[in-house]
Symmetry: C2
Subunit: 196 residues, 2 copies
């Protein structure tokens, strides 16, 4: 029986979890591979087995973030009614909730700091998120709640408003009440913007 086995067991997952914790409550600048290794009780060079570079770890973290947010949102949207207004509200609420609970992670996800052509996955991940919204818009068009037009182009203001709202809510430290208000306002704004 060893106090500390030579092999860690699941270093990769442990590192990702520790990294996210550090990211959340100490900021991205404080994230150091060596310190992660220390916290995991492992040698400074061990993480390199799983992430060849620090950026690789950040990319993996971002990818995990995209997975989490898309599954969370698809799940919530599945439990939501079919009306365009309802779905826009659910979309906004879900995204804003995630953004506030994972501000630093979201920053990381959209920071254009990933290597030039990045991993193919990191390019595809945001697209799945995007599709969630374009699908809602397409449904809205079928229901007559959204005016005609090319979906991809119609979607731009929606993305922009959503992404911008999260930034605002986080950086301004919105209270729960302000969040509710801004979601309601945003839904009204979007419904009017897309009305035929």
């Amino acid at each position: 029986m060893k106090a500390r086995p030579y092999h860690h067991g699941d270093l990769r997952a442990t590192l990702l979890a520790l990294a996210e914790a550090t990211l959340r409550d100490r900021g991205p600048g404080e994230l150091s591979l060596r310190e992660l290794a220390r916290e995991a009780g492992v040698s400074p060079a061990a993480p390199s087995r799983h992430f060849r570079t620090k950026q690789a770890l950040l990319d993996a973290l971002a990818l995990e973030g995209f997975d989490r947010v898309t599954t969370a949102m698809t799940k919530l949207l599945a439990e939501t009614g079919d009306s365009f207004a309802e779905r826009i509200g659910a979309l906004t609420r879900a995204y804003l909730t995630f953004a506030i609970a994972n501000a630093a992670l979201l920053d990381l996800m959209f920071s254009r700091k990933h290597d030039p052509e990045a991993s193919a996955e990191l390019v595809a991940a945001p697209r799945r998120l995007l599709t969630l919204a374009t699908d809602i818009l397409a449904d809205g068009q079928r229901q007559g709640a959204v005016r005609a037009g090319e979906i991809e182009r119609l979607a731009v203001p929606l993305f922009a408003a959503l992404q911008g709202l999260t930034g605002l809510a986080v950086s301004a430290g919105f209270t729960a009440e302000q969040i509710d208000e801004s979601i309601a306002d945003m839904v009204v704004f979007v419904l009017r913007g897309y009305a035929p």
Copy 2:
């Protein structure tokens, strides 16, 4: 006469200029005080006279960015007609133009990495930018182009859309044509959203 005088002359301004250049074309991660000093032809510790810490330099850079964008936008707005639609269009165009030309700088300005309470200036700087927009909204209300409501709250979707659009345009690498399209779309969207 000395080839390199002991005193630099205007190290502070030089450092800021070099830092912005580096930021623009090599990214924020590549910004090193020592390298800036090297490029300025000065000893590694010299910058500390003007910026006690690296973050202090970044804060100064962000502040300068806010100054530049607000003056650019106020100037452009001064040359613009009085109609709400015109002013919203000019606002959007001006901000988007700046954002695309100074993507990394804008990132820095809104990165919530500035020290907790930051310098008072860094808190006030975004507010001046914000006021530019709220003033337009207030004018719009007087003209009857904007529905009634508390300005600060009404402004949230506008800020969100504006800020989000810049992020989208930069990260997706919008072409000049796409930029024009998205500005037009955004104006329509906003006008509908605020119509009484």
